[in-house]
Symmetry: D2
Subunit: 341 residues, 4 copies
C-alpha cells in the first residue's frame, strides 16, 4: 500500500502517518520525489487500511498495491486446484459439463432431463430445490422434496448433483443430498453463508455476484478457503451493465483472468450470462475457447412450461447439438470434454 502525500504537505503530517503506522504494526518507508512524497506501507495490508489512512491531513491518495486475497491466489499456490466429484475431475485437463433444469419441478421433469443430458454427454446434473426469487409472490422451489427428486435422478442415471443452498441454516440439509453446493450470485457476499459452507468439506461452486469485481469475488472465495475448505470452484454468470437486450453481460474475459490470478477452477454459465436461449450455445463455445474448466447450462423438457427461466433454457435437442459442437471447440484448444463413459 502506498500513501501519496499532497504536493504541499507538511513534515508533521508525514510524521503523524508514520507514527500511526508504527502503532498498528506496519513499517512506513518514506520516499521523497521531486513532485511528491510517497510513503510505502510494509506489512500485510487490507482494503480498510486504505480508508483509514486517506483521512489523515496531507494525504492525497492511498493506493493499494498488494492483492488482498491470499489462499485463492496463484502466487500462494501455483498449481491448479482439481476437485474430484464422483468419477469426474473438475479443473483438470478436461472440460466438465453440468446441465439440468433451473428449478426442480417434478420427478419426471428431472429424471427425463437427467437422462437427456447424460445421453448428450453431460457429467453432472444441476437443479434448484431452493430458489431465490426477485418477487415474494413467485415459485421459491420445492425445498427438501426437490432434493429427494434430485437424489432419485442421481440413483437412476449415476450423475452427481449440484444444487443451491440459500441460507446458513440449510447447509447441513442440502449437504446431505448434494455432491456440490452452489452459492448463488445474490449470496456471494452473504458472509455467514460463506463461513458455513467453508466449515463443510463439500465441493462449493461460488457464483460471481452480479456487480462483484474480480477482487471481491476472490475475497469471497477466500472466506471459504480460510475456513479450511479448499474444494472451491468459481462460476462466471454475467454481470450487470447498462445493456438491456441481454439479462446480464457475460464477462468472458473473467475466465482467463481468474486462471491467471487464481488456482481455482472456473466454470462458465451462459444461461444466466445471457438470459436468452439462442445465445447460450455461442457463449458456451466462447467460454470454452477462452479456457473455461467447465460449463453450467439450463436444460428443460419444455422451456415454454418452465416455472423458472424458460427463456434461457435449452431443449433436449438444442443441448445435444451444443454438446456436439462443444467437442470440436474443446478439442481445438486442447481441452477434450470429459468422456461421459
Amino acid at each position: 500500500m502506498i500513501v501519496v502525500m499532497k504536493r504541499d504537505c507538511e513534515q508533521k503530517e508525514i510524521d503523524a502517518i508514520l507514527a500511526r503506522l508504527q502503532e498498528m504494526g506496519f513499517a512506513g518507508h518514506l520516499s521523497k520525489g521531486v513532485e511528491r512524497t510517497v510513503i510505502g506501507v510494509v506489512g500485510q495490508t487490507y482494503p480498510e487500511l486504505a480508508q483509514m489512512l486517506e483521512v489523515f491531513p496531507g494525504v492525497d491518495e492511498v493506493v493499494p498495491i498488494s492483492r488482498p486475497f491470499k489462499l485463492t491466489s496463484r502466487e500462494f499456490q501455483p498449481r491448479d486446484t482439481t476437485i474430484k466429484v464422483g468419477s469426474v475431475t473438475i479443473g483438470g485437463s478436461e472440460v466438465v459439463v453440468m446441465a439440468g433444469p433451473c428449478a426442480v419441478e417434478s420427478e419426471q421433469q428431472v429424471v427425463d432431463t437427467a437422462w437427456a443430458v447424460k445421453r448428450a454427454g453431460a457429467h453432472i446434473l444441476r437443479g434448484g430445490a431452493f430458489k431465490p426469487s426477485t418477487s415474494p409472490y413467485q415459485f421459491r422451489g420445492l425445498g427438501e422434496d426437490g432434493l429427494k427428486i434430485l437424489t432419485t435422478a442421481k440413483a437412476e442415471t449415476g450423475l452427481p448433483i449440484i444444487t443451491e443452498v440459500l441460507t446458513p441454516a440449510d447447509v447441513e440439509l442440502v449437504a446431505r443430498y448434494a455432491d456440490i453446493l452452489q452459492v448463488g450470485a445474490r449470496n456471494m457476499q452473504n458472509f455467514t453463508l460463506l463461513d458455513e459452507v467453508g466449515k463443510t468439506r463439500m465441493p462449493i461452486m461460488l457464483k460471481r455476484g452480479m456487480s462483484a469485481t474480480i477482487q471481491e469475488w476472490l475475497l469471497s472465495a477466500e472466506y471459504i478457503l480460510s475456513q479450511g475448505n479448499r474444494r472451491v470452484m468459481l462460476c462466471e454468470r454475467g454481470i450487470r451493465t447498462f445493456e438491456t437486450y441481454t439479462r446480464n453481460t457475460m464477462d468472458v474475459s473473467a475466465i482467463p483472468l481468474i486462471e491467471k490470478l487464481s488456482h481455482l477452477p472456473i466454470i462458465g454459465d451462459p444461461s444466466h450470462g445471457t438470459g436468452k436461449w439462442y445465445l447460450v450455445a455461442p457463449l458456451a463455445l466462447a467460454a470454452v475457447a477462452a479456457g473455461a474448466d467447465g460449463l453450467m447450462i439450463e436444460v428443460h423438457p419444455n422451456p415454454d412450461h418452465a416455472l423458472k427461466d424458460g427463456a434461457q433454457s435449452l431443449t433436449f435437442e438444442n443441448f445435444a447439438q451444443l454438446m456436439t459442437q462443444l467437442k470440436g471447440v474443446a478439442a481445438s484448444v486442447g481441452r477434450p470434454l470429459v468422456s461421459s463413459e
Copy 2:
C-alpha cells in the same frame, strides 16, 4: 404484460400462446396492427411469466407493463407510511437524522459519539455490532457485546438505536436490543433474511443493493410487507457505476422516485453513497433538498483511528456544522428537522 409477435408469425403460433395463457389462468387479448400482432395478457402477471412466454415460437418480445410490486406501491396505499420510533416519527413532515459510528468499537467511542450527535441534533444512534466485511481477515464487529454497548449509549442519551442484522439466525437476538433493524445492501436479496425480519413487528430499514434497480428494491421491501410487517423504510446508499473517484454513485433521483412510486419513507446515506468524508455534507444537503425523509450519517471521534470506514466518517465538529446547514435547507423545502428536544 404484452406479447409482441414477429411480423411473419403464424396463426397457430398465436393460438399456442393464447392456449397456454388460458391454461395458466390468464386472459389473452389479441390485437392485430398493420405491422404487428400483439397479445395483451390480463391478470396478475409477474417477471418470470415474461421469460416463459419469450420462448414460444413466433414471439418477438415480451413487454411487462404492470409493476410487479403491490403492497409497497403508492397505488395500493396513497397516504405516506409513518413509523414511530420512540418519540420520533419517520416519514412525516420532519426530517430525521440517524448518526453514529460505522462499527461499535468500544463503550467510550459509542457513548461519546452518541452524546456528540445528540447535542448536534441527531435523533437516532447508528452503530454496527455485526459488520459485513469484504475480506475474511478484517474486523467483523463485536457481536452481542456491541449490542450491549449500544444499549448503554441509549440508556445514557435516550437515543433509539438502529443496527444491522446479517443473518436470519441473529434476528431475534438483534431485535432484543435494537429499535430499528437494518438490512444491509449486500443482503437486499437475502430472501430468507427478508422473510425473517418480515415476521417481526420491528421497524426495518432496507438498504438498496449496490446494483439493484428501483423495481428490485421495492420487490425486496414487498417480501417484508407480505409477511405482515408494514414498518419498512428504504435507504438509498449509492449504486455501483464505472466511476472510481467515489466509492459508489449516490442516486439522488431515487429519493423523489421512491416517493412517487411508494408510500414508504426514504432515507439518504451520503456516507456510503460517496465514501469520502468531504462529500458527505454536500450530498446530505442534496438528499434533503430532493425530499428525503431522513439521513443516515457516519460519525467517529477519530476517523483516522476508525476500524471501519474512517474515510467516510465525519468528526464531531464536521457533523455539528452539517446539522446547522441542514436546518436551513430542510426549512427551505418545508421539511423542518425534528427538534431533538
Copy 3:
C-alpha cells in the same frame, strides 16, 4: 507513477525498466520492500505510459499517482474561475439559471419561452439549433434558421444565448450567434471539436459524456484550456448506469468533487440527468444544495407537443414554481440566485 514488480522478479527485469525510463527522460526511484520491489517514476507522466510499462517482464501492476490534468486543476489555479456572460457572472457567489426549450422549433415557441423563463428569474436562454439525434430519421434541428430565432429572442428579452455546436466546421457559424457554446455529452471526446472551440475565446459549456469518468471529463476540458481558452464551465447531465427508470443517473456527487479538483464552474442539468419532468425540480434543488454554480433546465410551452425531450421539459408554471423554491434552497447554502434584473 509507481511500477510494482512481481514478488519473484529478477534484477535484470528491474534494470530493463530503469533503462527504458531513463531513455524516455524519466527518473526511476527504486525501493525494495520486504514483500515487493517498487519503482517510482519521476517526471510528468501520462496515462499511456502506464500501459507501456505494464508490458515489461516482471511487472505486476503500474499505478498512476499524479493526476494527468493540469490547467484545469485546483492545484494549478486555486481561485475559482468566473466567466462573465453579458451582465451575468458564472462561477461567482450567485447561482445562474439557464432555461429554454430543448430544440428551437419556431420563433413563437422560443420567444414565448424566453419571456416566460426571464419572468420567472432565469438568466440565460438555452435552445438547440443543431440537435444530435440517436436515429437518422428524426428531427435534427433548424440549423442556422434556429440560430436566428434565438437571436430574435435575445433581442427581445435581453437574455444571452447558450446553444450547442456539433461539429468543428460549424464552430465559426454558431459562435456568430451564441454567447456560450455548448459541447454535448456525445461530443465530450470529439477532440477535433474540443481543439476548435479551444481556439475561440467564447465561453464553453462542456457536458460530461454519458460514460465519462471525472478524470476523462477534466482531460477533455484540458484540451480546450490548452488551446488558450480558459472560459470553460462543466455540466453534469447524468451518467449511464443499469437503472432504467430514469434516462440517466445524475451524479450529484460530481458537483462537489469538481469543486474540489478544479477551479472551473460546475452546472447541473437535471432535465437530461433524470429524463422525467417530475424529477427535474427535486434534482435541481439537490444540485444547488450540493454546491452547483448554476442549472440548465428544459422548459417548453407545451411539453406534449415538443419535437424533442418533451418528457423531461417543464411547463412555464412548473418552472416558475421551481424558481421560487430554488431561491430558498440557494439562500440556505449561502448562494443567492443572481437577481434577474
Copy 4:
C-alpha cells in the same frame, strides 16, 4: 409503441392522446383491459415519440415495441451482407483477421509488422494515423505522413488497409489512402461524421461506443446506410462497466446478437476489449467461437516501446501462435480462416 394508461385515468385523457396521435399521422388502437387501458400506436414510430407521449396526463408508461432500426435489420434484409476488400470477403463463410500496430510510428515499424502479420496469416493491415487521445498532451498520430507509410506497407505486402478517420473534414483525405474507414468508439454518435462516411462508397467499420446499447449502435449504422452506403461492418470492442481489472468488458454476446438482429458483418476487437495482451488470445478465440466474422488485433514489434496501447499489443511471436490456435477454433465452428494466399 404502446401507451399504458394509469389505472384511474379519465376518458378525456385518453381522447387527448388519440387526438394528438391522429394529428401526427398515427393511428391509435384502444384496448381496455380489466386492470389497465392501453393504446397501441400504429405507424412508423421512433424513440422520441415515446418521450412526447409520456408527458400526457393519465399516462403511466410508454413502451416501444418495434425496433427503430430498419435498413440494418435482419427483417429488412434476411441475407448476410458481404463486403469485398481487395481479394478478401468480409461477412462470408470465412473469418478475416485485421492486424497491425495501434498507431503508425515509423515506416520500419509498420512495414515490419505488415510482413509479420501477413506471414502469420492476417488479411488486412490496421494502423492509426489519426489517433484519439484522452489527454491533449499525448501522441495524436502522424496524420497524412502516417497514411503514406500505410500505403508503402500495402505496396510491399499487398495487404489492404484499415485506418481511422476522426472528423468529417478528413474523410476525403483518409479515403484516398484507406481500403476501409474506421469510425472509432468515441465517434459512434458523431452524427456529422456518420453522414460523411455514409456519402462515400467505402467499406466502413463502425466500432461500438463504450457505453452504447446494441440498439444505439445499430441506429448509428443506420445513419451510414441511410446515406446510401451499405458496405458497413460492426466491431465489438468492449463496453464500460464497473470492473477495473480489464480496460473494458468485451461483450462477446453482442456477436451472436448482432448476427440475429442485423445482416451486417461483426468483427471482434479483443485488444481494446480487454486492454491486456495476455487476455487477447483467449478472447480472440472466444469471439470466433461465438460466431465473429473477423478479428481486429493490435500487434507491435516491441510492445514495450509502443507509443500507444503497448499493454494490449501482441508481439510477432504471440500473434503467430494465436493464428495457429485460431485455425483450429474457426474450423471447429465451420468458419475456416480466409487463406492468406
